[in-house]
C-alpha cells in the first residue's frame, strides 16, 4: 500500500550499499555468467536492471514493481483512479 511508503526512519548502518543480486543468466553479448539484478537510476528515472557486470550489456531495464521497493517512496494515492484534477 503506498500509504505505508511515505516515511522512513534514518538507517542504522553508517555506510550504505546497493546489493547486486546474482542471477542464473548468461550475457548474450560476451558470454559472462556474472549477470546481476539491481536498482539504478537512468535517463528516465528509477529502474531495475539486469546487467552483465563484465560488459554492462543490459539484459533488461524494467519499471520497478512495488516489491522492488525502488524508489522506496510512493505517492500516497498512487493506485487510486485518476481524475481531471490529477
Amino acid at each position: 500500500m503506498p500509504i505505508d511508503r511515505l516515511v522512513f526512519p534514518r538507517p542504522t548502518e553508517q555506510f550504505l550499499s546497493v546489493t547486486r543480486e546474482e542471477t542464473t543468466e548468461t550475457c548474450p553479448r560476451c558470454g559472462s555468467d556474472d549477470v546481476r539484478r539491481y536498482p539504478l537510476a537512468d535517463h528516465i528515472g528509477p529502474r531495475i536492471a539486469t546487467k552483465c557486470q563484465s560488459c554492462f550489456h543490459a539484459l533488461s531495464i524494467e519499471r520497478p514493481k512495488p516489491e522492488d521497493n525502488w524508489p522506496p517512496f510512493r505517492p500516497a494515492a498512487e493506485d487510486w483512479p485518476s481524475s481531471r484534477a490529477g
Partner: protein, 676 residues
C-alpha cells in the same frame, strides 16, 4: 551543434529519420533555440533577483520516445535542464496523460518527484499538435520563498520536511489557460514575498506559452513528423557522441572519496564515496559506501546525484550536443537512505551541499580514469550561500517582510590548458547560475555591500592555478536574520597532478567603528585579527585563519558551517570568504611571468609567489620584475626538497593594524622589502 560519425552519416539520417542531414541539424538546432527563447522569456520577465540575476532556473522540451519522456533540448543550469526528463516522467506517470488538455499547466515542487528541493518549483505544459500530445514543456526556478521558518529555502537545523516549506505534489496551476485560483491562493498566502512569487510564477507560465507557440509554429512550417524526427535525431546524436567518448576510456573501476564538513546539527564530517565503472561504451557511478542520510538538512534526493553525470559529459564530450540522450549510456547506483538518496521525511532543503560535492567526487573518480592531461581539478565545492530575512525598517519600506539570498560565486578548478575561473557558478550549474547583483539585493534587503572581490592567495597553486575565491562584505542597515550554508571549510578543494588545494571557506563578524564610513581595514580580503569575530572556519589559537594546523571552530561562534537564526544587527558587518579551487600540475612549472601578473593583480602575494611557486621577484627601473636567476636557483632548491601540495591561504595573516599596514603597502614596496 556537432554531428556524429557512424550514426550521423548522411545516409543514416535519411534511412532512420527520413531527413537529409542538413534538415536534421537545422531542425534539431531550432528545437534547441525554442528552449533558449523560453529561458530568455523566463529570465526577462521574472521579478526576483534569484531568477533575473542569478538565473537559477531552466527550460526544457520533452519528447515521448520508446524509453519514456526524454529531454530533447534544454537551456539553463544543467542541474535543472537535464533533470527535466526525470520530472516529466514522474509527473506524467502520476497525473496521467489522459487527464491533460491543451493549455493545462501542472505545478509541483517535490524532491521525490524530480526537483532538487522544495524551493525549486516546476511547471509543465503539454503541447498538442494536430490534436496529438507531442511535447511536454517544463520550466523551473528557485522561488524566493516557499514558506516555512526561513525565507530562501535553506532552514538549517530542520530535520524533516514537516519543519520547512510547502511540499506540493503535481496539481493544476492553470486549467486550459485559466488560473487555478485555489492553488495560487495557497502558495501566495503561505509565503512571505507574494508579489515576487506571483511575478515569478507568471514568468514560469509565460515561458511555457512562448515555447508552446514557437513549437506550434515550427510544426506548422516543417510538419509535425519532421520536427519529432529531428528531436529523435538530436537524442540519438547526443547518445552516440557520449558512447564514443566513454569507449575511449580504459575499462575499469575508479573509486574516489570526499567528505561533507557537517550537517549543521553536529560538527561530524560525513563520507561520500563513488566508484566509476567503465565497460565499453557504458559507465556507472555507484555511490555504495556513502554515509547514511544526515540528521540535518544537507542530504539530497536521488535525482540530483544522478545528474552529477554532467561531470562526465563536460570532461568527455564538452562540445557535443547536450540533451537527455547523452544520459542514456550512464547509470547511477544510489543506496536508498544515504546522503545521495535521502528518504522522506528527511529534510533535503540544503540539497546543494551534497549535490555540489557529488559532482566533485564524481570528478575525482573521472580523474582516476583519464590521462594526466585530461584531468580537471574540481570546482571549490563551496557555495557559501547566505539567506537574509526580516522586516524592512528603512524609510518608506513600512516594515514589510523581506527575504532574499546571495551567492557570492564559486571558482572552477584548473585544467591542463588554463587556470580555473573565479566568480562563477558551480560546475553543476553548468556555469549559468551566476553571482548575485548587489544593487538589486540592496533594493530588496536593508543591507549595503561594501566589497565583492577576489580573495588574495585563495587559489590552489599549480602550473595552472585554481580559480580564485572571492570575499564579500555586507553591512546590515536594520536587523537581518542570517542563514548560512557553507562547506569545504575543513579541507580545501583538491588539485591534480601535484598541484595545491584551494583555500577553505570561512566567515567573520565585525562591528563597524562608530562614525567610520568604511567598515574596517581591508586589503584583498585580509583584515587584522583584532577587528574580527570568527563566525566559522578553521583558526589557530591566535585567531588567524589556518587551513592546515588550525582547528575547526577554534574560538568561532559556530563549530559548524551551516546555521540559521544568526541576527546581524544594524551597523554590524559580515565578511564571508569563499574558498578557492585546486590547481593543475606542479606550481614550480608555472610560467614566472604569469606568477608576476597574478602578484600585480593582487590575487597572489609576493610571499606566496616565493614560497608556493618558487618565483623570486625584484624591483628594476621602478617596475616589479621576475629575478630569473634567483627563481631558477630557488626552484631547483625546492624541487630537491620533500614537498607536499600546499593548501592556499594568505600567510602570515596580520594580528593587528600595524602588521596589516605593513602587509597592505603597494606591491612594489613589498617586493623591494622581500628582495632586500
Amino acid at each position: 551543434m556537432s554531428t556524429i560519425d557512424a550514426p550521423g552519416s548522411i545516409s543514416h539520417s535519411r534511412e532512420r529519420y527520413g531527413l537529409d542531414m542538413g534538415s536534421a541539424e537545422v531542425l534539431a538546432f531550432a528545437l534547441h533555440q525554442v528552449s533558449v527563447q523560453m529561458q530568455q522569456a523566463l529570465v526577462r520577465s521574472a521579478f526576483s533577483a534569484v531568477v533575473r540575476d542569478i538565473q537559477d532556473c531552466a527550460s526544457g522540451i520533452n519528447l515521448k520516445t520508446e524509453h519514456g519522456w526524454e529531454t530533447i533540448a534544454g537551456s539553463g543550469p544543467s542541474l535543472h535542464a537535464v533533470g527535466s526528463g526525470h520530472v516529466c516522467n514522474f509527473v506524467m506517470e502520476e497525473y496521467g496523460e489522459e487527464n491533460i488538455r491543451p493549455g493545462d499547466v501542472i505545478f509541483h515542487n517535490d524532491p521525490w518527484r524530480g526537483v532538487v528541493h522544495q524551493s525549486d518549483v516546476s511547471v509543465l505544459r503539454p503541447v498538442f499538435v494536430d490534436d496529438e500530445l507531442t511535447f511536454i514543456l517544463e520550466t523551473n526556478s528557485h522561488l524566493v520563498d516557499t514558506g516555512g521558518p526561513i525565507a530562501g529555502g535553506y532552514p538549517t537545523g530542520a530535520k524533516s520536511t514537516y519543519e520547512e516549506s510547502l511540499r506540493i505534489p503535481p496539481m493544476l496551476l492553470y486549467a486550459e489557460d485559466v488560473a487555478n485560483r485555489g492553488l495560487f491562493n495557497f502558495i501566495l498566502e503561505s509565503t512571505r514575498v507574494a508579489p515576487l512569487n506571483l511575478g515569478d510564477l507568471r514568468a514560469l507560465y509565460g515561458a511555457l506559452v512562448v515555447g508552446d507557440r514557437l513549437l506550434q509554429d515550427l510544426c506548422r512550417r516543417e510538419m509535425r513528423t519532421r520536427v519529432v524526427k529531428a528531436g529523435l535525431y538530436a537524442l540519438d546524436t547526443a547518445e552516440a557522441n557520449m558512447r564514443a567518448a566513454i569507449a575511449k576510456l580504459p575499462d575499469g573501476d575508479y573509486p574516489a572519496e570526499d567528505v561533507i564538513d557537517d550537517d549543521g546539527i553536529t560538527a561530524d564530517s560525513m563520507r561520500l564515496r563513488a566508484e566509476l565503472k567503465v565497460r565499453g561504451d557504458m559507465m556507472e557511478i555507484d555511490f555504495s559506501g556513502t554515509e547514511r542520510q544526515a540528521v540535518g538538512n544537507c542530504t539530497t534526493a536521488w535525482c540530483e546525484s544522478t545528474r552529477a553525470f554532467i561531470v562526465a559529459k563536460m570532461m568527455l564530450d564538452p562540445e557535443g550536443i547536450y540533451n537527455g540522450g547523452a544520459l542514456r549510456p550512464y547509470h547511477a547506483v544510489l543506496p536508498p537512505g544515504s546522503l545521495v538518496a535521502g528518504l522522506p521525511p528527511t529534510s533535503v532543503s540544503d540539497h546543494g551541499t551534497v549535490g555540489l560535492r557529488v559532482t566533485n567526487v564524481v570528478q575525482q573518480a573521472m580523474n582516476a580514469a583519464v590521462s594526466d592531461d585530461d584531468k580537471v581539478a574540481p570546482d571549490s565545492g563551496n557555495t557559501i550561500f547566505f539567506g537574509m530575512q526580516g522586516l524592512d525598517t528603512r524609510p518608506g519600506k513600512n516594515s514589510a517582510p523581506f527575504g532574499s539570498f546571495v551567492l557570492p560565486g564559486t571558482p572552477w578548478g584548473a585544467s591542463s590548458t588554463t587556470d580555473g575561473l573565479g566568480f562563477t557558478g558551480p560546475l553543476v550549474g553548468g556555469g549559468v547560475a551566476r553571482s548575485s547583483v548587489w544593487e538589486h539585493i540592496e533594493s530588496d534587503v536593508p543591507v549595503v555591500f561594501w566589497d565583492h572581490e577576489y580573495m588574495i592567495d585563495s587559489a590552489g597553486a599549480g602550473k595552472h592555478r585554481g580559480g580564485v575565491g572571492s570575499y564579500c562584505v555586507v553591512e546590515a542597515l536594520a536587523r537581518v536574520e542570517i542563514t548560512c550554508v557553507a562547506d569545504r571549510v575543513q579541507v580545501g578543494a583538491p588539485g591534480v597532478n601535484g598541484a595545491g588545494r584551494g583555500m577553505p571557506g570561512l566567515a567573520f563578524i565585525l562591528d563597524k567603528p562608530e562614525g567610520s564610513k568604511a567598515p574596517f581595514p581591508n586589503w584583498n580580503g585580509v583584515v587584522p585579527v583584532s577587528e574580527l569575530t570568527p563566525l566559522f572556519g578553521r583558526f589557530d589559537d591566535d585567531g588567524r585563519p589556518d587551513p592546515i594546523a588550525g582547528k575547526v571552530g577554534n574560538g568561532a561562534l559556530y563549530d559548524v558551517s551551516k546555521f540559521s537564526g544568526y541576527f546581524l544587527e544594524a551597523g554590524q558587518v559580515l565578511l564571508v570568504i569563499g574558498g578557492g579551487s585546486g590547481g593543475w600540475g606542479d606550481p614550480l612549472d608555472r610560467d614566472p611571468q604569469l606568477v608576476l601578473n597574478d602578484v600585480l593583480d593582487e590575487v597572489v602575494s609576493p610571499e606566496a609567489a616565493r614560497d608556493d611557486y618558487g618565483v623570486q621577484l625584484a624591483v628594476d627601473g621602478g617596475r616589479v620584475v621576475v629575478d630569473e636567476e634567483s627563481t631558477k636557483d630557488r626552484r631547483a632548491c625546492l624541487a630537491n626538497g620533500s614537498r607536499e601540495p600546499q593548501t592556499a591561504c594568505f600567510r602570515p595573516w596580520p594580528l593587528g593594524r600595524e602588521e596589516w599596514k605593513q602587509l597592505s603597502r603597494p606591491v612594489i614596496e613589498r617586493v623591494a622589502e622581500l628582495a632586500g
